[in-house]
């Protein structure tokens, strides 16, 4: 059982929805982002998605693109991101961390070496946007052997015929992308998302978390209400990009978490 499985089991026992927050590692600089990371669990975050910066984030909107550029300009590397997680784990051994990004920095390091290092650092899951089920042999299957969850995105274009393929080697949870589009796009309505989540849940026992376009506590509550939880990324990253202090960012995150937990 990974930290992700344990967290969702605990939330289920409490009858609570999950609040998942995304930040970019190294944004705006290593020290600040480490400070924000350390504060996320206290702000009510159940699962952390930590962005791995990449020069060509082709599924991300301007907010996350700029965060990645800030991180890279500040000298963030895959090693520094792994070190950041290892430091976090010294004080928190329960909050799951999912590394989210693109395949090339991982492929470049070598899949086996990466998985060993990621496991050792305390990473629990991976979301790699440009690895669909058709490329499962690359990283998805090896990751499971290391006890690292491989979390897949399901989207509005994932029809019933394709859904089993998407779910097949997925573990941890399913991330439902509520719109066709890039991160930071307009929000989907809970009334549209609900039936989609039900469709996915009828095909899997995994928790289904919904993301894309959530910016306010009310939206977090509404979306979490029709799923097992929700993810907020761009809205938080926007605060960081605007130069807010870690305390201000964490206060903003607390509000969103409270919204999701009201659901």
């Amino acid at each position: 059982m990974t930290r992700i499985d344990a967290k969702f089991a605990a939330l289920k026992a409490e009858g609570k929805k999950a609040f998942v927050a995304y930040i970019m590692a190294g944004d705006p600089d290593l020290e600040t982002s480490a400070e924000i990371l350390a504060g996320l669990p206290g702000a009510g975050v159940d699962v952390i998605e930590l962005g791995l910066p990449f020069t060509d984030p082709m599924a991300d909107g301007p907010t996350i693109q700029l965060a990645g550029q800030r991180a890279l300009d500040g000298g963030q590397t895959l090693q520094k991101t792994l070190d950041m997680v290892a430091a976090f784990r010294k004080t928190d051994d329960t909050t799951p961390i999912v590394l989210m990004g693109y395949y090339n920095p991982i492929y470049n390091r070598g899949v086996t070496r990466f998985l060993q290092d990621a496991k050792e650092a305390g990473i629990d899951g991976l979301i790699v946007v440009d690895l669909p089920p058709e490329e499962d042999e690359e990283l998805c299957l090896p990751a499971q052997e290391y006890g690292i969850n491989f979390i897949r995105l399901a989207t509005p274009t994932t029809d019933d015929r394709r859904l089993p393929t998407v779910l097949q080697n997925t573990s941890g949870f399913v991330y439902y992308v509520s719109i066709t589009g890039i991160t930071g796009s307009a929000a989907a309505q809970a009334t549209d998302v609900g039936p989609e989540v039900a469709r996915i849940k009828s095909a899997t026992d995994l928790p289904v978390i919904v993301g894309f376009g959530i910016t306010t506590p009310d939206a977090a509550q509404n979306i979490a209400g029709v799923a097992d939880g929700c993810v907020v990324g761009s809205a938080i990253v926007k605060e960081i990009g605007a130069g807010k202090s870690p305390a201000e960012v964490l206060e903003f995150v607390s509000g969103l978490a409270a919204g999701a937990h009201r659901a």
Partner: protein
């Protein structure tokens, strides 16, 4: 088109879109169903005689094919060695080989009921070809172009707009071809249901690399019979040469000859200011290593941490940090040789062709010519070189003038 022949280099890619370790389908889930639909549609069209009949008709009557295979007597004489033929793709409608492929993809888009066409462009040649064919068929066309390129390729931007296309300057990243491709992919993810992404080169997720190659393979097929007509039955070229950015004009020429072992195949990458640690070049095979970008695995210019680097080339059309996966494979297995040519060498070749044959070549094609100029003098007089003159140089005269320190502002 690939047929099942044992021990053939023409069978790649495999069912997973792989050329050796290269290629594949590295795209987000939102796009995956569409990629599979496109693959099915293409597999069907490939063996559908009515599809190819329509292509033949357009190639002949709209593009002006076959393009001539021209023996270049004065260039040959000046070099004093091998006999040089030019495959005149620059005489095609819109001035380059790009339209061969665009026609194929737009016919597919029509079959799939897609009404909105998007494309990326660097120098603007693929953008102009896409805008042209969209105008011809009355389709909405959006072209993503790096803001830097919009500025340095103003005439092509105006051309695209005249043809009714919307040109979107891309400011994300560093505003070049790579970023234009990122933004085109972002558009596609957002508008996946009505939009067809018309990729301009033999790269991207499967089926694009093989599909674009098949649409460009007419170049090599014509070369074979045209050379026989001029040099006698059964005479093959001894060496074929083409410039490689993404590599579509090169694959178009090479594919037909992959299984003719006597034919030397040479791809010419953009060496920029020189292939060394400064990384001021776009020679992915010579100076890069395998990685994953824009839907496929291939050789890429990247740093130690797997971050993609910006290349440099005098030619905007070669200014891309990757290369089509089939070239990466041909390089790995040694079926083709890849060399690089610097900005300065390409500029020299540009001027040589103008002066000896009265043909202004594109800077992209000038890279291939520069390699011909290097090796032809060392080869016997009965050695036949065919070089792909993939585009005409009218678009490049401002860049060339600048490098020659001539002021032609109008």
């Amino acid at each position: 088109m690939s047929e099942d022949r044992p021990n053939s280099f023409m069978n790649a890619p495999d069912a997973k879109g792989r050329f050796g370790i290269h290629g594949g389908r590295f795209v987000s889930e939102t796009l995956m169903p569409l990629i599979l639909d496109l693959e099915a549609e293409y597999e069907h069209a490939k063996t559908d005689p009515t599809f190819w009949a329509e292509m033949e008709d357009l190639w002949q009557n709209y593009v002006g094919r076959p393009s001539p295979l021209y023996f270049a007597p004065r260039l040959t004489e000046e070099l004093g060695g091998a006999k040089v033929y030019l495959k005149r793709e620059e005489l095609n409608h819109t001035g380059a080989h790009k339209i061969n492929n665009v026609l194929g993809q737009i016919l597919l888009a029509r079959r799939m009921g897609k009404t909105r066409i998007i494309a990326e462009t660097g120098a603007g040649q693929h953008g102009v070809a896409t805008a042209t064919v969209c105008a011809k068929f009355g389709l909405k066309c959006i072209v993503y172009m790096g803001a830097t390129d919009v500025e340095r390729q103003a005439p092509n931007v105006f051309r695209m707009r005249l043809l009714g296309a919307e040109v979107v300057p891309v400011t994300s990243g560093r505003g070049t071809l790579k970023d234009a491709m990122n933004d085109a992919l972002r558009d596609w993810v957002t508008n996946v249901r009505d939009t067809f992404y018309c990729i301009g080169t033999v790269a991207g997720p499967a089926p694009y690399p093989a599909m674009v190659r098949d649409f460009q393979a007419i170049i090599g097929r014509e070369t074979r019979w045209q050379l026989e007509a001029q040099e006698g039955e059964g005479r093959l070229p001894d060496t074929i040469i083409a410039a490689v950015g993404g590599g579509s004009n090169a694959m178009g020429l090479f594919y037909e000859f992959l299984d003719d072992p006597s034919v030397n195949i040479i791809g010419v990458e953009a060496g920029g200011l020189g292939v060394d640690d400064r990384m001021q070049h776009c020679a992915s095979l010579t100076g890069g290593r395998p990685g994953v970008l824009h839907g496929n695995r291939t050789y890429l210019l990247q740093d130690d941490d797997g971050q993609i680097l910006e290349g440099h080339s005098i030619s905007a059309g070669l200014d891309y940090p990757g290369i089509g996966p089939e070239h990466s494979w041909l390089h790995d297995i040694g079926r083709a040789e890849y060399v690089s040519i610097t900005d300065a060498e390409a500029l020299g070749a540009f001027q040589t062709l103008c002066r000896t044959e009265g043909i202004i070549p594109a800077l992209e094609s000038s890279h291939a010519l520069a390699h011909v100029i290097k090796i032809a003098p060392t080869l016997p007089k009965d050695h036949i070189i065919v070089v792909n003159l993939s585009g005409r140089g009218d678009k490049d005269i401002f860049t060339v003038a600048k490098h020659l320190k001539v002021d032609i502002k109008i």
